[in-house]
């Protein structure tokens, strides 16, 4: 039976982290050498944690499924990274960043964690600049900022439309420096397939070498999961093809609570779906909403004519355009948070005002900004994004407005962690998108990069020591211990079972089926009936998978289909958990919109008296219903109000 203890330090909000650091346990340099830490994932969180722990003198082993740590999906983040530097002198502060994040998350995040995040945000920018990250600068040579959704200040630092790439390369280079120094051991094309628990503590992992197909056992004093989100349960998402939720699911199976699984973010500005062979969706950065205006035709007949190809958007007169975000939310306009912008797009399209050949698209128009600033200024800010759009859609966004539609982008839910970023399993930690903390029910733009690097550079390197300090007398264990051998056997059995199915359908075809169920019933708008239907349908998909999947080749050597099958089996379980959690949460908050709970204007309606808690699911065994535990959220510094961006 799981016991949830958030371990929030005593004291006033602004002093909690300082107090924690002043009183925490540390490990001395000679003992650090005796302690092994496994980090899974080489994105912003994993790479920054591994380099920092390596520099400190711990023995680190790091694992990635890619051919190089630099491929992690953090690389694709475009717009920027938030920090409370207040360089533009526009009224920002640590408290304001904290407040915006809690409010943006629709009051479903833990105050103490969010405040710490805002507090360390400034150090991240300093660190990245010192590493040589080429952030955008003003002519005076100082750093430039831009605005993102959900904020009325400019606090977002950026490197063109490739901020994630530049921050990840900074962390990757710091990591490779430690590999060179011998403090970090790198394992590429290697996938975590299970976590090993000995005497109630995480003591290692089982991996599969994706080139040889061999299973390997690895011991460590602590295991850290920085394995990202599970948005690919929807098949179509902005996540990379390999992004998966398997590590999180293994942790859940081994006793870690899975928190708020239904909190998934749907990003409002993605390139619309083009056809049935589509493999993924491409994001257009939120930063575009700084200068782009979102609209659909005011008249239904215009929208119909556009869909039929008889009218072009440029032919619609200014007075016949409905800039619906500016109309509904005059204070924040096009820069409302993502959940609000996504729902507003869906509302217009469902009402028959959508554009594109299918009516599932809205316009993002740069005409006003190009007139105001000139084409060159727009090209300077978003050149690479415009080029990408043109390559995919074959249309010039400098002349014709972009078409966009919401898509699954990020998961706020994830492995439950306490203030130490430790899961309910001692010695098992989780960082970055993989954990549930900080973003509540909706993440603000440019906050994912901030959280990943905060966890990796400035939080985990402290909190993990507090745990490891009690473990200095634990000698390295051999991986011949029965817990390792049993875990390895279980994985071998599962792989054999998968290979023996020899059914008729490809992994992808079943994954697409799961994706349709998820999008239709666990997507942008959910209701009781639909979620119940989703649970039934997912059961059918699960049965279809385990009886009818076809995996060619063998378990030896490289077998891409086997990799995908292993991940899909886990996505099916995650999908079920998402639907179950969505059904339980009878309120609308952030990205979780239950149609039964909305204001007359169609805004999300929270039920604070009943649902101001984190839902934490405890695994009970295969085909058994999990048990839900609550972490009550206590707000001492922020007053809960209905989010108002008007």
């Amino acid at each position: 039976m799981i016991k949830l203890d958030a371990k929030i330090p005593e004291g006033p909000l602004a002093q909690k982290w300082s107090n924690y650091k002043a009183n925490q346990k540390l490990v001395n340099p000679s003992n650090k050498r005796k302690l092994d830490v496994i980090i899974v994932g080489t994105g912003l969180a994993g790479a920054s944690a591994a380099s920092s722990l390596g520099e400190m003198g711990f023995n680190v082993k790091i694992f990635t499924i890619q051919d190089s740590p630099r491929r992690a999906h953090s690389i694709a983040a475009q717009g920027g990274i938030n920090a409370a530097k207040n360089y533009p002198n526009d009224g920002d502060s640590i408290f304001r960043l904290f407040y915006d994040t809690v409010k943006g998350g629709d009051y479903r995040a833990r105050e103490a964690n969010v405040y710490r995040l805002a507090e360390v945000s400034n150090s991240i920018i300093d660190q990245c600049v010192a590493q040589g990250v080429p952030f955008a600068r003003e002519y005076g040579g100082l750093l430039d900022n831009r605005s993102f959704g959900g904020a009325q200040v400019s606090r977002t630092f950026y490197a063109k439309g490739q901020t994630g790439q530049q921050l990840l390369l900074g962390a990757y280079q710091a990591l490779m420096r430690q590999v060179n120094a011998g403090t970090v051991e790198m394992h590429t094309r290697t996938e975590l397939v299970d976590i090993v628990i000995v005497d109630g503590k995480a003591r290692g992992i089982i991996t599969r070498d994706l080139v040889t197909g061999k299973l390997e056992k690895h011991f460590a004093h602590a295991v850290v999961l920085g394995t990202g989100g599970y948005g690919n349960a929807f098949f179509l998402s902005t996540n990379a093809m390999g992004s998966n939720g398997s590590a999180a699911l293994k942790a859940y199976h081994k006793g870690a609570a899975f928190a708020n699984p239904c909190f998934a973010q749907i990003h409002p500005t993605c390139i619309p779906v083009h056809g049935e062979f589509q493999s993924k969706l491409t994001l257009m950065s939120e930063s575009l909403r700084n200068d782009g205006r979102i609209w659909v035709p005011k008249k239904k007949e215009d929208a119909e004519a556009i869909r039929a190809g008889k009218l072009k958007p440029t032919q619609i007169a200014e007075e016949d355009r409905d800039y619906y975000l500016e109309r509904r939310y005059p204070a924040f306009g096009n820069l409302v948070p993502r959940d609000v912008a996504s729902r507003a797009a869906k509302e217009r399209c469902d009402a028959g005002f959508g554009v594109g050949t299918t009516g599932l698209a809205v316009y993002l128009d740069f005409k006003t900004s190009i007139e105001r600033l000139g084409k060159e200024a727009i090209e300077d800010r978003y050149g690479n994004l415009f080029q990408m759009y043109e390559k995919i859609v074959d249309d010039n966004p400098y002349e014709t407005p972009m078409m966009i539609y919401p898509a699954i982008h990020y998961t706020m839910g994830g492995i439950w962690v306490d203030y130490n970023l430790q899961t309910t399993v001692p010695g098992l930690f989780s960082i970055g998108e993989a954990n549930f903390s900080d973003h509540g029910a909706n993440r603000l733009g440019a906050s994912a990069l901030m959280q990943g690097l905060a966890d990796g550079y400035f939080v985990l390197p402290y909190t993990i020591q507090n745990y490891l300090a009690d473990d200095i007398a634990t000698p390295r264990m051999t991986t011949d211990e029965k817990e390792f051998v049993e875990a390895e056997k279980a994985i071998n059995d599962r792989i054999t079972k998968l290979m023996k199915i020899k059914g008729k359908r490809s992994v992808d075809s079943i994954h697409k089926e799961l994706g349709v169920v998820m999008w239709d019933f666990v997507g942008m708008a959910r209701n009781k009936e639909g979620l119940q239907k989703a649970l039934e349908r997912i059961k059918e998909v699960k049965k279809e998978f385990w009886t009818n999947v076809r995996i060619p080749g063998s378990e030896e050597g490289m077998n891409v289909e086997l990799e995908k099958a292993n991940r899909l089996a886990d996505f099916i379980e995650i999908g079920e958990l998402m639907a179950r959690d969505g059904l339980n949460r009878e309120e609308s908050c952030g990205g979780h919109f239950r149609e039964e709970y909305q204001t007359p204007e169609g805004e999300a309606l929270r039920q604070d008296d009943k649902f101001a808690y984190v839902s934490c699911w405890e695994y009970q065994g295969e085909d058994k219903a999990p048990v839900m535990h609550k972490e009550d959220l206590v707000f001492e510094n922020v007053k809960l109000i209905q989010r108002n961006y008007k």
Binding site: I75, M241, G275
Partner: protein, 261 residues
Amino acid sequence: MVQQFKKKSNMENSINLTLKVWRQNGPKEKGRFETYQVSNISTDSSFLEMLDVLNEQLINEGKEPVAFDHDCREGICGMCSLYINGHPHGPDDRVTTCQLHMRNFNDGDTITIEPWRSAGFPVIKDLIVDRQAFDKIIAAGGYVSVNTGGVPDANAMPISKADADEAMDAASCIGCGACVAACKNGSAMLFVSAKVSQLALLPQGKVEAARRAKNMVSKMDELGFGNCTNTGACEVECPKGISLANIARLNREFIKAKAQD
């Protein structure tokens, strides 16, 4: 409820293709070309989505699908590769294979698809090669030697916009290896020079610029990459438009390092 998979758009065309694909079971096995037919490929789909269709077809026929590297499918992770009709990342300019769209091909075309071919990048399976050599080159010096914490305020050091922008251009390298695949000598000079340039252009990286250049170049040589003979093929094929000017800057830093020896 919104349908995720929309019907075919009326603007869309579809084409039929013959594919000649390199198949190789393992690093030490002998490879060969296999010929496949694919039909009704939407010209709006990407090259990799076309390969997805081929693989679905092969699986349904009970055959092994073609192994190829890919991940973000947004042109930024650098994972996808493929030597298509004699060009790394195919015939279109400034795109990776994942962003290459089928509208660049005509109905009835034959397309030849090979892995990167270079001594530095051995084949693992089919179209997948081993690019760990790039990580080793970065590990030899492709960073600013600072630890976490204890660094100055981000605005303590003004950097001219021109230098910052030029550094950013060099830093946009995605490490895909197209430059090596395009080079008749199999040289990694464009890749190495992009990192050396980015860091040499910024005051933070200038401190160890010469040492960095020397260490990275000697690691590149050790790993079996060839010499640069200034043919410029790398710049032409680079999906991110990394400029040859970076190689000149690398040479300057390298000479400085040699003079200091």
